[in-house]
Amino acid sequence: MGNGWSKFKGLFWQPAEDDDDEDDDTNGPGDSDSEVAEALSALKDLDGVVGSIAIDASGSVRASDLPRVFDTASIELIGSRMVELRSVLAKDAREPLSGSLDFEGHSFHVKSFPLGMVGVLIDDNAHKPALSMALNLVSRRVAATLETARQGGEV
């Protein structure tokens, strides 16, 4: 995992009572998206990660770290498709889903939480156990960010 590990350590979600810096109250609209983007960027430290995307429960893209070959419309469509996949599998969006779509050469891993989903596109060089761990941590971070934003009325 190399130098990426130190970055992942920061992704462990701290309980709310430990967050006493009151940053949550000063977040303006859109700040949560930059936090989500920052969380996603950590995934790039893993070998084989092509890019990632985070969406909210409605499928709106909150941040994306996908390569530029994916234009805005494509990224939005990916968000919609992710939500459709989840809704096919679980009528209750709060039910956590963790899955992977395996194609030749690449796979797409998704993890859902009540307020959204994270998806990661990887190639065959990725170390899947490491990715799984990282995706758990990143999803936790994104979920916490979206929850904070929701409580602040941003979502």
Partner: protein
């Protein structure tokens, strides 16, 4: 290959259009299952008994043994169901099943034999032992009075037979065959196989819900893969709500969706899906 039913016809088993009796015999034998199958055709009834990778007994009203097998295999249309005849006390079939099919089915030619060999090889990794097994183990919805909510090509019976079966004398596994196959077989709770038009080819276990889910899941996966620019789908796997689901391309024209026990090791299935 000759079809058991060339044109769909309403039957007690939901109209198994296109299902082949030769396929049934082949799959039953390759899976090594112990199963008694009732074949009904134009008011005639025949019973086929499979055990240990062989067709061991066949009976019609007038015939028994090889003659009955030839008679039944010769029927052009019909349906499959679970036979309620008592298990035969002795084996009456003297010919190997392949020879029976070669003699009884004109279309069972070199191509079909080559196909059989491929299925044998794949059987050791998953197929006929889990979902591929058109040896479904739950009573057909039609037989139980329920109408299937999805198009049905062929459903096979069971009722009294073990849900998970493994050939007592399986063919030698290829060197790549995963060692955890038995665990994977036992882990699969239910499964459904669909053809390209989303018709159910086979069910395993109480899979009616899965049969409804599978087409939508297949579409959702295809759409997501498409927008991601991904090609050559292999498999989708997920866990949710204590369920472990897997969907994968089985052959060029069929997919399998299965549910396994939570935490089950599906490495054997994964391995099979990559071939």
């Amino acid at each position: 290959m000759r079809r058991m039913t060339k044109h769909p016809a309403p039957t007690a088993h939901g109209g198994p259009e296109g299902a082949s009796l030769a396929d049934l015999i082949q799959l039953e034998c390759l899976s090594g299952s112990r199963e008694a199958v009732l074949v009904t055709s134009s008011g005639r009834q025949g019973h086929l008994f499979f055990e240990g990778g062989a067709l061991v007994d066949a009976r019609t009203r007038e015939l028994a043994g090889d003659d009955a097998a030839f008679e039944i295999i010769g029927w052009k249309t019909g349906t499959f169901g679970a036979s309620d005849l008592p298990w035969p006390s002795r084996h009456t079939i003297t010919l190997p099943w392949r020879e029976l099919l070669q003699q009884a089915v004109p279309g069972y030619d070199q191509h079909e034999r080559a196909r059989s060999e491929r299925v044998v090889a794949m059987n050791t990794t998953l197929r006929s032992s889990i979902p591929d097994a058109a040896v479904a183990s739950s009573p057909s919805p039609a037989a139980s009075g329920r109408r299937p909510s999805v198009p049905v090509r062929a459903r096979q019976p069971s009722g009294t037979l073990p849900v998970m079966r493994r050939p007592p004398t399986p063919p030698p596994p290829p060197s790549s065959a995963p060692a955890s196959l038995a665990g994977a077989v036992g882990a699969v709770k239910r499964a459904v196989r669909l053809d390209d038009s989303d018709a159910v080819i086979a069910l395993r276990g109480d899979a009616d819900d899965l049969a409804e889910l599978a087409p939508a899941l297949k579409r959702a996966i295809a759409q997501l893969g498409d927008v991601l620019g991904l090609q050559a789908f292999r498999a989708f796997e997920c866990t949710l709500g204590g369920r472990q689901l897997m969907h994968y391309r089985d052959t060029a024209h069929s997919t399998i969706t299965l549910e396994a026990a939570p935490g089950a090791n599906l490495e054997a299935v994964r391995s099979a899906s990559k071939h």
